[in-house]
């Protein structure tokens, strides 16, 4: 059972009478990599800033290692931030930027030199001490920002979409490095991003946020395989959401409407399933299609095949008019022509029933 | 505790400027208004009995002439600096190579003592000055031309002194304009002149108006140029006001004249604000 290092309790945040955060509670474990994931405007950055101390919650509390900090200034918490645009001090060089936190604490010069050197090697920027900030590349600036924030050995490191400005390849590389760094230092990371692939890749747990609330918290597999709400299902990975009615629920199975038939889906232990509007969630990679009618399937017309490099993405339209996306890794298969009628089908065990939320 | 610290910073930054501006700008200006309604005592002091005689006095033809002359001089100065200055600024923005040098050369007269620069013209224009000397020696004229101590000389002096004030905002405004607009107009078939009239001028209007304000307003009040280059032949508002305070010792009348001058300036600034809706500093700095 891991220790809880940060607790957010019923935080509400209003900006000029507009509720940006409607009510959030969250417990973060020591040493974990937790990501706040959501679209722009969902409140994830505001939540981060409340933890850092740049915003005060309208109501609710923030407890760092059990102590209330929601009223403390940013410089009074042992929490450091890596900013979205790095916010490096332009009038100082790399050494001075990283040393800043130590300098204002009046640490002695020899100690500073030693620790900055260690940090530079940790972020793989050895020899960069005297370099000017504006001569650095995006990736290098990123590392300086990380080094600057870590030198104080904070209890929590907050990262606000740190990789947003980097190109794809560099981003993927930095994701790996950041994860390695976190594991090595065993510092709690709270990470904010809108990129769900990034979140799935790096996190121990993900908190999916939408319009000021947390829709679901779980590890990446939970979030992907067992989304609880339509929003989470739609936001994470590609998904097909087919409207359905729930016929029957018992301890092990849910029986739902599927076309003209009924389908039995394994009841995957949802708590408080309130049977609001429901959807069948089936991921594109789990759908197959054929010309002959299968046992349980839906009629569909092929609209388009797209070649995405590693997969073929096929779009088809079912009778209700909804478009279904199917992904196939087998690129050598003969493709059914556009406009042809097919039957799409899938295994019930790949289905998740999802509520409106 | 945090609030007190916050407030100290706020007070520290806001108080000095507020106090200074209120005490040394607002209050003296209000006081001028007040004094303009007072009377002059026999020995040159202020007698605190209210009157509007200072203002009614200005209705006399003598003073009306001074006002009109000043406005005309300021207007002609503005017009000339605009007509000569716009092409200058426009061509200057086209020179990419020595941009820094050009900027420096344009700004230098802006900051150099206008007195000194006026003196240069006196040297050139006076009866034993350079032009007369050259013309006499070559026999073109028999007697030296009296070029100083006339409205003409004053105009040259004013245009010369005010020229950088017009050019600087023009230069900034033209420089900032995205040349893509000109290319778009040409692409759509407009001739050079039409492009200039319908694209360039409207887009640089903020600079034009800023320049006009920066020239017109001080021109109304510049008195040492008419003093040095016009002598007693030229009397403008500025000279009149200076006279009231330094020689004639009629402070109330001088105050009233100042108020009229402020009004003339204010009306123009309001025109600017209406026309463009921006602040001046964006164009000058």
């Amino acid at each position: 059972m891991s220790e809880i290092i940060l607790e957010i309790d019923n935080i509400i945040k209003k900006f000029e009478n507009q509720e940006v955060i409607k009510n959030i509670s969250l417990a973060i474990n020591k040493g974990e990599f937790l990501t706040l994931l959501g679209p722009s405007g969902c409140g994830k950055t505001t939540t981060l800033r409340i933890i850092a101390g740049f915003e005060k919650p309208t109501s609710g509390s923030v407890l760092l290692e059990g102590k209330h900090v929601e009223n403390k200034q940013p410089n009074e918490r042992n929490v450091n931030t890596v900013f979205q645009n790095y916010a490096l001090f332009p009038h100082m060089n790399v050494f001075e930027n990283i040393a800043y936190a130590l300098k204002i604490r009046k640490v002695n010069k020899i100690e500073i030199k030693k620790r900055v050197k260690e940090m530079l090697s940790l972020v793989q920027l050895e020899g960069y001490e005297k370099r000017k900030i504006d001569g650095l590349s995006g990736g290098q600036k990123q590392r300086v920002a990380i080094g600057r924030a870590l030198i104080n050995k904070p209890k929590i490191l907050l990262l606000d979409e740190p990789l947003g400005a980097l190109d794809l390849k560099l981003r993927k590389q930095m994701q790996v490095e950041l994860k390695k760094l976190q594991k090595k230092l065993q510092i709690t990371f709270v990470y904010v991003t809108h990129d769900q692939e990034e979140a799935l890749n790096m996190s121990d747990r993900i908190a999916v946020m939408n319009e000021g609330i947390i829709e679901q918290i779980g590890n990446p597999e939970d979030i992907y395989e067992r989304p609880k709400t339509k929003f989470v299902a739609g936001f994470i990975g590609e998904s097909n959401l087919i409207k359905t009615k729930i016929k029957k629920i018992d301890d092990e199975k849910i029986c739902v409407q599927f076309g003209e038939h009924e389908m039995n889906v394994n009841y995957k232990n949802y708590d408080n399933f309130k049977t609001k509007e429901s959807y069948i969630l089936i991921r594109p990679e789990n759908i197959k299609y054929t010309r002959e009618k299968p046992l349980l399937g839906l009629k569909a017309i092929i609209k388009e095949h797209s070649y995405i490099g590693s997969i073929i993405k096929t779009t088809m339209e079912i009778e209700s008019g909804q478009e279904i996306i199917v992904c196939d890794y087998d690129k050598k298969k003969d493709l059914v022509g556009v406009g042809s009628e097919v039957w799409m089908y899938f295994e019930p065990e790949d289905v998740v029933i999802v509520e409106e939320g | 505790m945090k609030n007190i610290k916050n407030n100290i910073l706020k007070v520290l930054t806001v108080f000095p400027i507020s106090f200074w501006m209120l005490f040394f700008v607002a209050i003296p200006l209000l006081y001028i208004v007040f004094i303009s309604f007072m009377q002059r005592g026999d020995d040159g002091t202020i007698v605190y009995i209210s009157t509007i005689s200072n203002y009614t006095r200005m209705a006399r033809p003598l003073y009306i002439k001074v006002f009109l002359d000043s406005i005309v001089v300021a207007f002609i100065t503005t017009l000339c600096t605009l007509l000569f200055g716009y092409p200058f600024a426009y061509f200057a923005t086209k020179i990419k190579k020595y941009k820094i040098l050009i900027m420096l050369l344009i700004m230098a007269p802006f900051l150099t003592n206008s007195l000194i620069r006026t003196y240069g013209w006196i040297v050139i224009l006076s009866t034993n000055g350079i032009i007369n000397h050259a013309l006499l020696i070559t026999g073109i004229i028999k007697e030296p031309l009296k070029m100083l101590y006339s409205y003409g000389a004053v105009m040259i002096g004013m245009i010369y002194t005010m020229f950088p004030f017009m050019v600087l905002p023009l230069y900034n405004s033209i420089d900032k304009m995205d040349k893509a607009y000109i290319e778009a107009a040409k692409d759509l078939g407009a001739s050079r002149w039409k492009t200039f009239r319908t694209v360039t001028v409207p887009l640089t209007m903020p600079g034009i108006v800023a320049g006009c304000i920066l020239v017109f307003v001080p021109s109304v009040g510049l008195f040492f140029i008419p003093d040095l280059m016009g002598g007693s032949n030229v009397m403008l508002i500025g000279n009149l006001i200076e006279n009231q305070f330094m020689e004639a010792n009629d402070w109330p009348f001088g105050a009233a004249l100042s108020i009229v001058m402020i009004f003339i300036s204010l009306i123009l600034i309001l025109v600017y604000v209406k026309m463009v809706g921006k602040k001046l500093d964006a164009e000058v700095f």
């Binding site: - | 706020k10 930054t13 040394f24 206008s114 009040g221």
Partner: protein, 260 residues
């Protein structure tokens, strides 16, 4: 080629205008080295007028006065202007729009009005006219220049940098001292240099507010011009021109170096 011709015409025009601007200045400089007293005939190169200038007590006093006033005014307006810029940009308070407007007034109204208004103020308060009144007056018209300069620098200021400093442990005062101030410093300096040049060159306000003991250089030149031309003037003017030009280059140099 039409564009070559037009380019040539453009350059010629620019050259003519520059000539118009600088010929009077050039003439003064040239004649400051003229051996003869005349301002027309050039009879030989000499530094006499410069040496005469330096032994002229009146001129030296005026010079010292001008420099003193300029230094004090610049220093005070740098402080008030910088603090004011930060205050106006970052804080809200009652009467903010009034003060913001007042700041522009010294720049935008004719100088004579400023001279007159301060003249009335100081004589009502019965303050003797002299260095003090001049410093107060110069500060009044210099501060807006510093303030506007710093304010426009603050407009492009990335606040997240200050947040980063706070995040790393700096108190608000430390942030101001180690981050904000160093970053706006070039704007403060270039504003201050502008103020210095303006103070040195001011005539109108000086005419109204100086006393018998506190003649400034421009006043000295003015009286020299009115009451009789002596070639020393050329030397004096040349020195002032050169000084202003140097200050200008320095201030622009600083501004440019920062913008790189």
């Amino acid at each position: 080629m039409d564009s070559k011709l037009s380019k040539g015409l453009e350059r010629t025009y620019i050259f003519c205008i520059f000539a118009f601007l600088y010929v009077p200045i050039a003439i003064i400089i040239m004649y400051s080295f003229n051996a003869a007293k005349s301002n027309v005939v050039f009879s030989g190169f000499t530094l006499d007028w410069y040496t005469k200038l330096f032994s002229d007590d009146d001129v030296i006093t005026a010079l010292v006065n001008s420099l003193t006033i300029a230094t004090f005014s610049t220093a005070i307006s740098a402080v008030i202007g910088t603090l004011g810029a930060i205050g106006l940009k970052r804080h809200n308070f009652k009467g903010k729009s009034v003060i913001s407007l007042l700041v522009y007034i010294p720049i935008v109204i004719p100088e004579i009005i400023m001279g007159v208004s301060l003249l009335i103020l100081f004589s009502t308060l019965q303050i003797d006219f002299g260095i003090l009144t001049l410093v107060l007056a110069h500060t009044t018209f210099c501060t807006p220049f510093v303030l506007i300069n710093v304010k426009s620098r603050l407009a492009g200021f990335d606040l997240s940098i200050e947040e980063a400093a706070m995040d790393l442990g700096a108190s608000k005062f430390t942030v101001f001292r180690t981050i904000t101030l160093p970053m706006i410093f070039p704007a403060v300096v270039s504003g201050a240099m502008l103020a210095f040049a303006l103070s040195l060159d001011d005539i109108i306000i000086n005419i109204f507010l100086s006393g018998p003991e506190s003649t400034t250089l421009p006043i000295k030149i003015f009286s020299m011009l009115k009451f009789g031309l002596s070639p020393e003037i050329n030397a004096l003017c040349t020195i002032m021109l050169v000084t202003t030009f140097v200050v200008l280059i320095l201030s622009q140099g600083i501004k440019l170096r920062r913008e790189k």
